[in-house]
């Protein structure tokens, strides 16, 4: 799989991810509540999206041709806010108002309060459906944007995710990408103890997706997996008609597409991650699923990050 960006500075993206992690921790500590674990596990992927893969313009959050990013696991809002601020959608000072009365930075992402947010989430299971709708709209309007949706692994318990998955395959939404932040934990404990997801990649494949499993902290793998070609609806229309998706011209390349025999399938990325990634005492420690670090813990965490710590 080749990316459309000739030269990717992976180190720059790694630095960006580290900055996101720092912002996440500071903002949650300032708020006194929030979800560090799942924000940190997602940071590398979010960095790769916002600072590399997404076509977007902070001055035009409603640009019709923008690539979309939906954070279906809405409790990881801090990492989204950190990315939006770093891109210049709003002043970074706003991050300190997270979860405060009147702040646009609601506890979970809110379209109503913060327009660059693509979907209101927080009740798990809903984001992929919204993504299907945005991807359908793109096809209907013949636009070449893509829609990226990030889900939690625990979130994949929700039946709505599989309804959405089935419908995306049915409508041949090659402009839709699902990213599962597979950090192995949900709220009450490890996913395989609470509700075993079994072979997750197989599930997505069986639901008609082009599924790959990657190391969600290996920036090269992340960047490669996210490089999903833009849809060429003209070609696909010519090849298949309107009601069902079809082959996307010659735009798809690489191993995954080959394996799929060039079929017009949406892409699922199972990103194996570490919950709390980047802070030694948060890694794999599900206590930090939903609690803020104390002042002392924050200092230790920031020091680790500054030192390059576990993040690299």
């Amino acid at each position: 799989m080749t990316t459309t960006h000739p030269a990717v500075d992976l180190d720059r993206l790694r630095d960006r991810a580290r900055e996101l992690r720092r912002a996440v921790l500071e903002m949650i500590a300032a708020a006194g509540s929030g979800h560090p674990g799942g924000s940190l596990s997602a940071a590398d992927i979010v960095a790769a999206l916002f600072f590399h893969e997404l076509r977007h313009d902070p001055h035009r959050p409603d640009w019709p041709d923008r690539d979309r990013f939906i954070l279906s696991k809405g409790h990881a809002a801090p990492v989204l806010y950190a990315a939006l601020a770093a891109c210049g959608y709003f002043d970074a000072g706003l991050l300190r108002t997270l979860r405060r009365l009147g702040s646009p930075l609601q506890g979970h992402p809110s379209v109503r309060d913060l327009p660059p947010v693509e979907a209101s989430t927080g009740s798990l299971g809903q984001g992929l459906s919204v993504g299907v709708g945005e991807a359908l709209a793109g096809r209907l309007d013949g636009r070449d944007y893509r829609v990226f949706v990030m889900l939690g692994d625990g979130e994949c318990d929700e039946g709505q995710v599989w309804e959405a998955a089935m419908s995306a395959a049915h409508y041949g939404l090659i402009n839709l990408v699902a990213i599962v932040d597979a950090n192995g934990f949900q709220l009450d404990g490890p996913t395989d103890e609470i509700m075993d997801l079994g072979r997750l990649e197989e599930k997505w494949t069986a639901f008609g997706w082009d599924a790959v499993t990657i190391d969600g902290h290996d920036m090269a793998q992340v960047v490669r997996a996210l490089a999903v070609p833009r849809p060429d609806w003209g070609a696909s229309r010519a090849a298949g008609g309107a009601a069902r998706g079809a082959v996307a011209g010659g735009a798809m390349s690489g191993a995954a597409a080959e394996a799929a025999g060039g079929a017009a399938r949406p892409r699922a990325i199972i990103a194996r991650t570490v919950k709390g990634k980047g802070v030694s005492f948060m890694e794999g420690n599900n206590e930090f699923h939903g609690r803020a670090p104390t002042a002392e813990e924050l200092q230790r965490a920031l020091a680790e990050l500054a030192a390059g710590g576990a993040a690299r």
Binding site: R112, L140, H170
Partner: protein
Amino acid sequence: MTRPLGLATREAYGLALAELGRERPEIVVLDGDLSKSTMTKYFAKEFPDRFFNMGIAEANMVGVAAGLARCGKVPFVSSFAAFLMCKGFDQMRVSVAYAGLNVKFVGSHGGISIGEDGVSQQSVEDVALARALPGFAVFVPADEHATRAVVRAAADHPGPCYVRVGRPKAPVVYPDGCDFRVGRAIQLRDGGDVTLVANGLMVAAALDAAEALAREGVEARVLDMASVKPLDEDALEAAARETGGIVVAEEHLLAGGLGSAVAMSVARRRPVPMGFVGLDDTYAESGRPEELMAKYGLTAERIAEEARRVLALAR
């Protein structure tokens, strides 16, 4: 009086939707494997590219509609009222209402007049659920003409709506067309003794009740409350002041429906004795529509009875 039967309101919906489709390219339609019953099939036939059958997966359908609306489309989303509201509720709450997106939901086969299919397909709580979605408008038209007006109003209304339509042919209440306005009661008959408020199929029943009462010398005002939300509180206050008693009738559970909305408004602004006709904490069952309406007390007779009870209290 026996009013002539017109089209089913779902049929009128389907036709109005296809008509709107011709005028407004931004309208798209989603259905949950019931397009032959909800009558979105007319739109689907004419605009196959703008019609999406989402299969038997109502929750996903609601979310997909949210995504389409986020991209500027105006989705009309249909299924049986029971499945649409009861299975899509959390998605309406978070993906649509909280996000403030412009999605129109139209539930067909509302109420118990769907008949033989029985409880699982009968929607007796859809209005209560829709009213519990902040920002949603809620409309329940009485006949084909009202439906046509309501569907157009829904399309014009900036924001999410829920519209309930029904399965059986509906008695014609507006032979000359319906001047429906969002948030406005329609007075179908004037009277100074008591007010009958109703919507959907119960409007015709209320008119029949008013005629029965007239034969007893009681002049009943009849208000069609097709606009459940926003509610015409001024019309209700005037009715309370001028008639001194109100009966509300709906093909719905008493809990959370039109009657409860009217009761709160009247109690706040101008308390008068009230009566309520609807399902009192019970589901119905299988049977012919008319049989069910009779057995579960959704009739002109029950409305008239309640009116007499209210009149006795008001005196």
